[in-house]
Amino acid sequence: MPKYPRLQSLKAINRVMERYYVKRKLMARLKPMAYVTSGAPVEILETMGVLTLYPENYGALCGARRDAVRLCEVAEEDGYSQDLCSYARSHIGAVKQPDGAPLNGLPKPDLLLCCNNICGTVLKWYEVLADHYSVPLFVLDVPFQREPQSEPHAVQYVTDQLEALIAWTEEVTGRRWKPKKFREVLALSNETVSLWGEIRDLGMHKPSPVNAPDLFVAMAPIVALRGTRQAVQVYKGFKAELKARVADGVAAVPGERYRLLWDNIAIWYRLYRFFRPFMDAGACFVTDSYTNAWSAAEPVDLDDPLTSMARTLLAVYINLDLETRAGIVADLAQRFAVDGMVMHANWSCKPFSLTQSDIQAAVREQMTLPTLMLEADMCDSRRYNNGAIRERIAAFLEMLG
């Protein structure tokens, strides 16, 4: 079996995330704790010294540790449908039965912030949590965008809610809003986001120094630690390591023959194993639509932060219309000079997966790009049919050759 060079920074990133979880376990009683959705304006809570946790990130962790199916079954026994997002099922399962779940479950929240710019699932999921823990819930309602440019009334609507969120957090936590601190947090957040973009762009090099599964591991801080020094620091290290690879001509997949684009969320329970047959055939996933979701944003304007944040919240990939999404995918395909595209039709995430066939068709209209659609699930491995997927991957690789 061929050996693949390892990225040292990924270990550092994993350590940062371990500390992140340990710190939250230890500090839970000292500081207010909020659960937030992945598309939420975490910078506001960070400014107020509220600790944050991401049940979605925890769901991914359950998937990666292969605990998700067991936890999903706990939720299913409680009546949650198998068709419900497996992040939600894994987390709800761990709420019901924390013993033996990763980290023995998450520390309890004091407040909940749910932003529906990613899906409608989170609304119900957070209602369940609010009910279970009897804690206050703030729903930040972000309307779906039909145009590439956010409509002014939508921007205003979200901006008003951000103001309300600040007031609400003050009231719920008894902490004061500090505009100066907000600027600092936003500056760090901007820096993290731009570093993430630069990291991802290094995949444009031929050969690419980075493969999609590396990005899936590396993305945890951009989701969970945006606006903190740790995130900036660890990404500076990661970027330097990738740049050194580029300078030395080290490829993530030695002898890179094919450059591919990945669409949709990772398959957490087979993170590297899934990519192995591709790597063995010299195929590197040089870019993806998933981790791109955290780099596409423009920097937040420090002089008009709330309006600017509102724009960012509206422009989240899965809050956008089909044509805009297809444009984003086609643009990635072009900029990263890919030879093919693999789409993970992810049973869990309807807002991400529903548009895939049409995106596939739209991208094909613009360029000849061999594509492969694979049906699976990000955490629920019961939806992974190994034989069927293996056959398709083998045929796809022959098609590229």
Binding site: S357, E375, N385, G387, E391, A395, E398, M399
Partner: protein
């Protein structure tokens, strides 16, 4: 020089022998449980037809779900790629191959040199496969050959709307109980398969010439109803069932 292609599928094993120019022999047998034995046997049968021995084969390429179980193969290639190659060799104008086998069905788009440019597969549900026909023929106590004939003679077709083989079978039972003519039920069954397959292949651009391959190609009823659905003529060659094996033999000949 002779070259062999062996295609071990879910239900049958196929072998094709080529010399430098043409197809010289072929065989089809039931795959059974022992795939290794089936591969050996089907190749032996093909060799026997032309009085050759295993040593006379310069190279052997294996394909199909059971391809890794074919003894002494020089190489394995997926059936998708082999069907593309084989169909192009049989008819260079082919652009779309619809392969309906015992346990799966596929749509394959090929270019002017027989290279696969796109494909779709259904291996999740039996209702678009040969298995569906078998189950239904059994339920209606007809053999498969007559089953197809009856479907073509039907005056009308009942609608089978279930997308699952098991439920479709109970739907058929309901139609029988309601006194629907047998031919109409059988025609409805064929139409159901054609509908499933047509909807699957619509995910790849269906371009002419369209060729139907795989065991179900021998069933005239499915071919006819697919033509109706796709509004295109469908080419069915006598080699339909061994197209994948021919493709494999062509890869063997390439070296």
């Amino acid at each position: 020089m002779h070259y062999a292609g062996v295609d071990v599928g879910a239900i049958t094993a196929k072998a094709a022998l080529l010399d430098d120019n043409e197809l010289v022999a072929s065989a089809v047998i039931a795959a059974g449980y022992n795939r290794v034995e089936a591969a050996r046997e089907v190749l032996a049968q093909a060799l026997q037809q032309v009085g050759l021995a295993r040593e006379d084969i310069a190279r052997l390429v294996a394909t199909g779900y059971g391809r890794v179980q074919v003894p002494n193969a020089d190489r394995t290639v997926t059936e998708i790629t082999c069907h593309g190659r084989g169909s192009h060799w049989l008819c260079p104008d082919v652009r779309t191959v619809i392969d309906i086998g015992g346990q799966d069905s596929k749509g394959i788009a090929v270019n002017g040199v027989g290279k696969v440019v796109d494909f779709v597969m259904n291996d999740k549900c039996a209702a678009g496969t040969g298995r569906f026909l078998e189950v239904m023929a059994h339920a209606l106590e007809e053999d498969l050959a007559r089953f197809a004939e009856l479907s073509l003679s039907a005056q009308r077709r009942v609608a089978i709307s279930s997308t699952c083989t098991v439920f479709a079978e109970s739907e058929v039972v309901t139609h029988i109980a309601a006194g629907a003519p047998k031919a109409a039920i059988i025609a409805g069954i064929h139409e159901a398969i054609a509908a499933r397959v047509a909807s699957m292949v619509s995910h790849i651009p269906v371009r002419e010439v369209v060729m139907l391959t795989g065991g179900v190609a021998r069933n005239g009823g499915v071919a006819r109803m697919l033509e109706e659905r796709l509004e295109r003529t469908i080419l069915v060659l006598p080699e339909a069932q061994i197209t994948g094996a021919i493709g494999a033999a062509l890869f063997a000949r390439d070296g």
